[in-house]
Amino acid sequence: MTVRDGQALSRRQFLKTSGAVVVSFAMPAALLGARPDQAGAAQAPGLSSDAARLDSWLAIGQDGSVTVFTDKVELGMGVSTAFAQIVAEELDVSFHAVSVVMGDTARTPDQGGVGGSTSISVGARPIRQAAAEGRQILLNLASARLGAPVAQLTVRDGVVRRADDPTKTASYGDLIGGRRFDVTLQVSGGSYNLGVAGTARPKSPDQYTVVGTPVPRMDIPPKATGEFTYIVDVRVPGMLHGRVIRPPVPGATLRRVDGAQGLPGLVKVVTKGNFVGVVAETEWGAIQAARKLNVTWSTSTATWPAMADLYTAMWAMPVRTRRVMTQVGEVDAALASAARTVQARYEWPFQSHAMMGPGCAVAEVRGDGATIWSSTQHPHQLQRGIAQLLGLPVETVHVVWVEGAGSYGRSGAEDVPGDAALLSRAVGRPVRVQWTRADDTAWDPKGPPVVIAARAGLDGTGNVVAWDYVARAFSGSGIPPGPSTAGNMLAGQLTGLPAGGNDVPTTFQEHYAFAAKRSAGEIVPWPQEASPLRTANLRAPSQPATTFGGESFVDEVAAALRVDPVEFRLRYLRDPRDIAVIRAAAQQARWASRSSPRAGISRSGLTTGRGIAFTPRGETRLATIAEVEVNQASGQVRVTRLVVAHDCGLIINPDGLRGTIEANLIQSTSRALKEEVRFGPSGVTSTDWVSYPVLMAPEVPEIEIVLIDHPELPPAGAGEPASVATAPAIANAIFDATGARLRTVPLTPARVKAALQNRGA
C-alpha cells in the first residue's frame, strides 16, 4: 500500500474549502456552504437538507465525481470510508470518485446524528437507496443518449456503455454533471430511522465488489501528515479566544468577579447566572485570564455520598423507574423451589469520556443568526439547542460539523458549543473555545455508575432453573444523548435552565435459555444539572457494566457447578450465531476445557488464567476471551492476550472493522483495569491523565480477532459491541488464575489483593 494520489487530491481540495469532510471538485463554490474562511455564509440557494429531495443526498460533478451528504459523522472509526464504499458500490463508480459531506445542517438531511452503533446499520440505508436511485436515473438518461434499452447497458467507473457496442459510451459527468436530479423521494420515519424510498432496488450483496473489501481509510494519510482539519484547527476571520471557569463546588453560586483589570489581551469577562467565561485576543491570553481572574463563589449546599459509600447509597435510594427487560416463566417460584441458589452483587464506577482533545467549538453569533463549528455527534439537535440558548429561530442557526477527538457518546463536545455561543454573543465577534484538560476530565458528563444484583436457582442435577437479575443506575443517560435543548448543555444549566430528563433504565442483553428468568433495570434519582457528576451516554451506554455483572455471574454459576465456562454457555444458547462466536473464539484461543479456577494454584507468585464472556448487542454478537497474568504479591493484573470472535452481519470493510474492534478492546481493557472518576465533597478530583489514568503502551495485550461475515444479513453495529464483554472476560480470567472473584471495576491491584486475601481455602 502507498499513499494514493486520488486520496491526496481530494483531501487537499477539502483542506482548501471546507470544515466538513470532503467536497466534490465540480460543485460551484457557492454551493459549498459556510466554511471557516467564509464565516456565516448563509445557506446557499439550491442546497437543502430536505430528505425528500434526492439532491439533498447525492450530487454528481461535471467530472463525474460523486458527493454524498449525510448527517452521520466520522468519530474516527472509518465510517466515512465505509459510506464511500457503499455509494461507489451502488453507483458503479470508483471508490476514489466519492466524497462524503457530513453533518452540516444546511445541506445534510436530519438523521438524528450518531449513536448506538447505528451509522452503518441504519444510517447508511437512505444513502444506499439514494445512490441506487441515482444510478437508475443515470441509466435512463444514458438509454436515451445511447439509443439502447437500460437492460443492454453496463456501467463501470461511472461510464455507461452499450453492451453490444462498447464504443458507445456516456459518462455520469456527461449525463448530469453539475445539474440536479430534481427527483422527489418518499420519506419515512425520522431522526435515526429516517428512510427514503423511490423506485430503484439496491444491489443484491452477491453482486458486491467494493463493499466487503479492505479499502484503506481515506482520512488516515492527511491525519498522519498534519494536513487534516480537526475542529481545533477551525479559524474564522476576527476570531477571539475564550475559556470558561466552572464553580469550584457543584451548587455554588457566583458572587463576584475581580481582577480583570490589567490582564493582557483580555477583551471581556462574561457572566450569566453561574456561567463565567473570558474572551481574549489570544489563546494564551484567554488561558492566563481564566487562571488569574479572581472569582468568588458561595458555599454549596449540594451533597453527594462519600465515594467509598457510593454503591451502598445506590442500593438504599428509592427506585424512581423500574423496567423489566426480560420475563420468562415463574422466577420467584422457581427460586423458592431450587435445590440451591447462588447470588452476587457487582459494582461499576463513574467513568469519564476523557476525550484525547478536550471539547472545542467556534461560534459566530450575529444579530440575524449564528454559525457554529462543532465536533458534535448530533448536528441538527445542536442547531435546535443553540437556537434555544440564543433565542434565535432554528433556521437562522447553521451548525457545521468538523471532526474532533474520539467522543464516544455524550461527551463534553456537546457542551462546549454553548460556551462558545454565549461568549460570541457577548463580544459580537467569533469566539473559539477549547476546554482545559480539567474542564474535560472533571466536568464532562460521566458514564453512570451501575450496581448489579443477580441470583440463580439450581436444581439437584446441575441445571439452572431460575435467573433473577437487576441493574441499578442513576440512569442509562441522565443527560439526553443530544444537545437538542439549551438545558442539555452545561452552559444552559449554569445559566439556570433545566436539563431534559432521560429516564431510560439501563439495559442488559443476554440470550440464555434459562427455564425462568427475569432481568430488570432500575433508576435511582441523582442531581444532574450543572454538576460534574451528571451522567450521560458513554460508549455502549452502561452495557459494559451490566454485562460485567451478568457475564461474571454466569461464570460464578458455572464455577459453582464445576462446569467449563465455554461448555456452560453453550448449554444455554440456541441461536447458531451465538454458538458460532463462542466456538470460534474458543478455537482461536485454543481454549482448554476445564472448570474454573484452574487446579493446583500456588497462592503466591505469578499465576495465569483465562476467562470468557459472551454478549449480544442489538444484532451483533461476540465472544471475548482474556488471558491474564496475576502477580499475587502486588495484585497487579496483566492482560496478556485478548481473542474475540465478532459477528456484525454483513461486513462493509474488514480492515476498518478490525481497527475498530481492536480499539474497542483496548479502550474497554482500560475501563476495566484503570478507570474510575474520583470525587469528594469539593467536586471531582480526577482531573488529568495522572489522576484519571488509562491503559498505556506497555500494558497493551496481544489481540486476535476472528471476523464472522454474513453477507446474507444486513450490516449490524460495530462501534460499541466489542467494548461490552472485556471486563467480565478479564475478571473471569483472574478468577481462573487465582480462585479470587473480583466484583468491582476497576480491577485495581488493591482490589485484587483484597480479593486474594478473602479467597476460600
Binding site: 475581580d258 481582577g259 483589570q261 494564551w284 484525547m356 481492536e662
Partner: protein
C-alpha cells in the same frame, strides 16, 4: 484586588469590561526556525511554544491535549529531541530548529514513520497520532533497530484514548525495519 464593575450588557449578559491591553512591552522579538523557515515572533516570552505554532504559524500537527506535558499530543522535535510544546515557553527554544508533523513529511513525500502509520492504518480518531509519530521519529533516529519491548517502552508515556495502540506499535516497528 480591585473590583470590576458588573453591569448588564445590551445582550442581557452580565459583563465586566477590562481596559484595553497594555502595549506589548514584554514582547521582544524572538526568532524561531520552524520546518526550515525562520519566523520573527512578538509575543509574551512565557507563551508556550504550542500556541505560537498553532495560532501564529497556523500549524495543525501539534495539538492541545492536556497543557500539562502528560499526553504527548503537542509533541514537536527540538533539534533532534521530542519535546512537549504545551509546557515549553517559547523563550526557552533558543536557536534550536523546530520540526512539526508537517515538516517531517508530506502526503507526497511522507517520512518513514508517517508512511508506516498510513500502511498499518494505525489511526482511530488520530488526535494523538502527532505525538506518536514525532516521538517515534526521534526515537528511531537514535535507536534504529528496537525490539518490540523497547518500542513499547519508548512509547510508554503517550496517551491514546481510542485504543489504536496495537497498530501504532506495529507501525513504529515497521518504520524501524525501514530505517535500520
Amino acid at each position: 484586588m480591585t473590583s470590576d464593575r458588573l453591569g448588564h450588557g445590551s445582550d442581557g449578559l452580565l459583563t465586566a469590561a477590562a481596559p484595553p491591553p497594555a502595549p506589548g512591552s514584554s514582547a521582544t522579538p524572538l526568532r524561531l526556525t520552524v520546518n526550515g523557515t525562520v519566523h520573527t515572533i512578538r509575543l509574551s516570552p512565557d507563551t508556550p511554544l504550542l500556541y505560537v505554532l498553532r495560532d501564529e504559524l497556523q500549524l495543525r500537527g501539534p495539538r492541545f491535549g492536556c497543557g500539562l506535558g502528560q499526553c504527548g499530543a503537542c509533541t514537536v522535535l527540538l533539534g533532534g529531541s521530542a519535546v512537549r510544546s504545551c509546557v515549553l515557553p517559547v523563550s526557552a527554544v533558543g536557536g534550536q530548529p523546530i520540526t512539526t508533523l508537517e515538516g517531517l513529511g508530506t502526503l507526497e513525500r511522507p517520512h518513514a514513520v508517517q508512511r508506516a502509520f498510513i500502511e498499518e492504518q494505525a489511526v482511530q480518531c488520530g488526535y494523538c497520532v502527532n505525538g506518536w509519530i514525532m516521538t517515534a521519529a526521534a526515537y528511531l533516529a537514535k535507536n534504529p533497530s528496537p525490539t518490540d519491548a523497547e518500542v513499547r517502552t519508548a512509547m510508554s508515556d503517550l496517551i491514546c484514548r481510542c485504543g489504536a495502540h496495537v497498530r501504532m506499535l506495529r507501525a513504529v516497528k515497521r518504520a524501524a525495519g525501514r530505517q535500520g
